[in-house]
Subunit: 154 residues, 2 copies
């Protein structure tokens, strides 16, 4: 965590998020949170990671505003961990990761879990990038542009 950030003083839009969720476990915790897990013990049992690591990761996610602690739910005197708005914003990323995984990390007929539409129970569509006018875009059709240079003397 909190790795030094190369020689660029301002991190780009890809590097900043990685500072918050760029480790193996954080995304898995978030995925479990999307699946409805909320309690420390639930995450630990589901992921099988050491308790101190889970503790540190949850603390980090809370510190980054990705999860939040809420006091109770059932009567237990403990707290629960829930996704914030910011955390919920990670859903497309998780879907992208899952779709890529399904495409390339499973043998042709190997069974795997699928993300489906609750209403129809059909698999969701593939994520695709589109232009403003609706054309589908591949990587080569895009370009990263820098913001117009701000005049310092202004």
């Amino acid at each position: 965590m909190a790795k030094r950030v190369s020689h660029r003083d301002s991190m780009c839009g890809v590097a900043r998020p990685l500072d918050a969720i760029g480790d193996w476990w954080s995304l898995l915790i978030i995925r479990d949170a999307f699946d409805g897990l909320r309690r420390f013990g639930e995450f630990q049992k589901s992921l099988g990671l050491a308790k101190n690591i889970l503790s540190a990761r949850l603390r980090n996610l809370v510190a980054h505003g990705i999860m939040d602690t809420v006091p109770a739910a059932d009567g237990s005197p403990y707290q629960e961990y829930v996704l914030t708005q910011k955390g919920q914003g990670l859903f497309p990323l998780l879907v992208a990761l899952r779709q890529w995984g399904e495409d390339f990390f499973f043998a042709p007929n190997e069974p795997h879990v699928t993300l489906v539409d609750r209403v129809t129970s059909l698999p969701v569509r593939r994520l695709e990038l589109r232009a403003q006018d609706g054309r589908m875009l591949m990587a080569e059709d895009t370009l990263v542009v820098v913001p117009p240079p701000v005049d310092e003397s202004e």
Copy 2:
């Protein structure tokens, strides 16, 4: 890398990819590759990471079939690193990461680079998940289902 994978013997569609790209640097290398970087030195200068780390990451990406080494390009006797099909499949994930970063990691008026359509120079659309029938889906509208249990005696 190669972390032990909890108590589940079969990794899910989210965990498997993380084994390949689940560290801070790999995704940044891939992003740079999408931006056209190919040479060891280019990556190193762009990212400012230690050469041994870059060496290890590139080796790992090649081992996972995400990048490939090609012998030359200009006359230099060195090799270049290019994305495979599998690597190019990460484009949506990178876009998702970037969009999330732009949403939550920049102050309202803070300038940041933008991903634009090459043809129109307009920013690309937001990634959105849709059902087969085209309805837009939020996280709550989806469900992860396990594959039908295979009859072992078959």
